[in-house]
Amino acid sequence: MSREHVLHKVRTALARSTGQPIEEPPPVRLRVPVVDLEDRIKSFCERVEALAGKAHRATSDSDARAYVAGVLAGRSAVASNAPILRESGVAALDGVVTGITDRLELRSLCENAACGITAADYALADTGSLVMLASPQEARMISLLPPMHIAIVARDRLLTGLDELLSILPYPAEQTSSMVLITGPSRTADIEQILVRGVHGPGEIHVVVI
């Protein structure tokens, strides 16, 4: 449509010519603190709880399975195809459907399931965030459509925060079409600034750190 028109107006406004090189941009500002693993886990769990999520530190795979089974209490769940869910046995729990690769099938399952179970590629200790990269292992809908989300995170995936994430993942677009940071349950305060959880996304979130 108006590509040339708009670009021409931009160049004229800035008195620049086509293909003119640019000055060096300001340096990237990333500050990665040194925090030991135990403190990262502690901070992460505290942040998740402060956001009204539940955090559980699992001592073993069987502990993780028992926790998830307890939360599900017999309700239906869709699990992603992430290796950690298979390895820990969470994906094999009663009532959990997994291994879906078809978009429509996955969507209709997610529409009706009580819970979505995923891994997380990373977790951010200072904000209590989960970092989810869409891939053949992780679909977008599982952490979005069901009213509850359970994420299983390996402890070595715990980063200090956003700055560390962007320093180890400077070009997220090279790996995925969608990276999402999830920080607590879905919420709104649009009516009289009263906090309501679970408006469009999951209102309940559990994170199991293995």
Partner: protein, 473 residues
């Protein structure tokens, strides 16, 4: 000041419920921001602001370069960039795509840019249903209103009003509990998400080195809008660019804290193109509409170019003593508060609402809280001078110029000045008991004087003038 502007201001001031709603909501947002930037929680807050200003200045000064880099990256990932010069082109693009794909239903996540070009009205005009999905936006769409605030669009609505609105528009029983109201909207909108053919979002940032659209939100509606339908269209102003994904470490920290006091909002989405081979879900088609709509005009003005640094956090609205009294709907365009007062005249021309740059006490609170350090008061002053120059050109201030010429003549003639002073003192009415003159007898109060006094109180004249006291000393 236009009559409409004046009228809206007075209506807002007279509505005590509305006054309380605005005051409470903005007060809470001020408090949340203040707590989120305390030195123990965010020790480098001021440094982040300076850095953000540096990065924005650099990007805007080299905008053509970053636009092309962004376009190349989006294309490389299988998406399409569409440049549009105005709202009509945006609507044409959406309409023709919808027609080609036989789309019926569009879901939208909150976007000030689409409000700016009245996209919903344009689509509705062509029998395309476009549903807002952010709770606040949904409510104001039902009410056929404009957003009251950049971040909290339904800030002015009470739960009673929402109850009436939902029952009138959706035919549901009147529900007064906010949690239940939210769940009613959730159920209606969930159906829309799953049936929609196209999802339209805005963009909080466009990342040049990644070709990515970054969206921040708390509800999850932007995630649903951008990943449930088969087509995702992001519509953004050309000024939304930042050079690198790593710059988000600065901007995301500032945006969440300044807007709602959150270190990070619930969902931050970094979207770069349609779903890739192997990915299970996500859109098949990905478009980014880059909109000019007056931005290149602002860009051409070296002095006021920084207006384009704005990341739409809404902090200047919350902290503005004028916004907190006159509210969002008194402002003549979609952008309200201090940022609206500088954007509107630059986008629509100073004559659109000449009173706007003057509706400020220049207290400077907006500049102090701006996360990207836009010098709003400075720009307001420049706009005031432009309004005055435009008035002179059009001769609309002839009366004012005559008054000032008479004043200057009087000032140059000491005798006449003294006589005029004595005459004024003897004619002036006495004060209201608390030491102020609030009105003049109608004979002495032609419309310009009355308008001037409607906003101000006069001190009563002193019993003796300085000259008299000097002579009697």
């Amino acid at each position: 000041m236009s009559a409409v502007f004046d009228e809206k201001i007075h209506a807002t001031l007279a509505d005590t419920k509305l006054q309380l709603a605005i005051y409470t909501a903005t007060g809470r947002l001020i408090e949340k921001r203040r707590k989120a930037i305390t030195p123990d929680l965010c020790p480098d807050y001021q440094e982040l602001r300076s850095h953000a200003n540096d990065v924005k200045r650099h990007t805007i000064e080299h905008l053509d370069y970053y636009l092309e880099e962004f376009e190349a990256k989006v294309t490389a990932h299988g998406g399409t960039v569409v440049f549009c010069k105005d709202g009509e082109e945006v609507a044409d693009f959406v309409l023709s795509l919808a027609k080609e794909r036989r789309a019926q239903l569009i879901v939208k996540s909150k976007s000030m840019t689409t409000e700016e070009v009245d996209l919903n009205e344009r689509l509705e005009h062509h029998q395309l249903e476009a549903v807002e999905t952010d709770l606040g936006e949904y409510l104001i769409q039902l009410a056929h209103e404009r957003p009251y605030h950049i971040v909290a669009p339904a800030l002015h609505k009470t739960r009673e009003q929402v109850a009436d609105l939902l029952s009138a528009k959706l035919g549901v029983p009147r529900e007064i509990i906010i949690e239940k109201q939210t769940m009613i909207a959730r159920a209606v909108l969930r159906e829309k998400f799953l049936a929609a053919d196209i999802g339209i979002s805005g963009a909080n940032f466009l990342v040049a080195d990644s070709g990515a659209v970054v969206l921040v939100e708390n509800e999850g509606n932007a995630r649903l809008t951008t990943s449930a339908p088969k087509i995702h269209i992001a519509i953004a102003g050309i000024e939304k660019l930042i050079p690198r994904a790593q710059d988000l470490a600065v901007f995301l920290k500032l945006l969440g804290r300044s807007a709602t006091g959150q270190p990070l909002t619930v969902y931050t989405s970094f979207l770069s193109g349609p779903r890739r081979g192997g990915e299970i879900d996500g859109p098949d088609e990905f478009y980014v509409v880059l909109l000019d709509n007056g931005r290149t005009k602002v860009l051409a003005d070296r002095e006021k170019r920084e207006s384009l640094y704005c990341i739409r956090c809404g902090a200047c609205l919350n902290h503005c003593p004028v916004y907190r009294k006159i509210g969002g709907h008194s402002f003549p365009w979609v952008y309200s508060g201090p940022i609206g007062a500088i954007l509107t005249p630059q986008f629509l021309g100073v004559n659109h609402e000449p009173g706007l740059p003057f509706a400020s006490s220049l207290c400077g609170a907006c500049a102090e809280v701006c996360p990207v350090k836009i010098d709003i008061p400075k720009i307001l002053l420049e706009l005031r001078s432009e309004v005055k120059k435009a008035e002179e050109r059009e001769g609309s201030s002839r009366l004012e110029r005559l008054a000032f010429r008479m004043w200057a003549w009087t000032m140059r003639h000491p005798r006449i000045y003294e006589m005029a002073g004595m005459a004024a003192a003897s004619l002036a009415p006495s004060s209201d008991g608390r030491g102020w003159v609030k009105s003049l007898p109608s004979a002495m109060s032609p419309p310009p004087v009355r308008a001037w006094l409607s906003q101000r109180d006069l001190p009563p004249p002193p019993p003796k003038s300085f000259r008299q006291m000097w002579r009697e000393r």
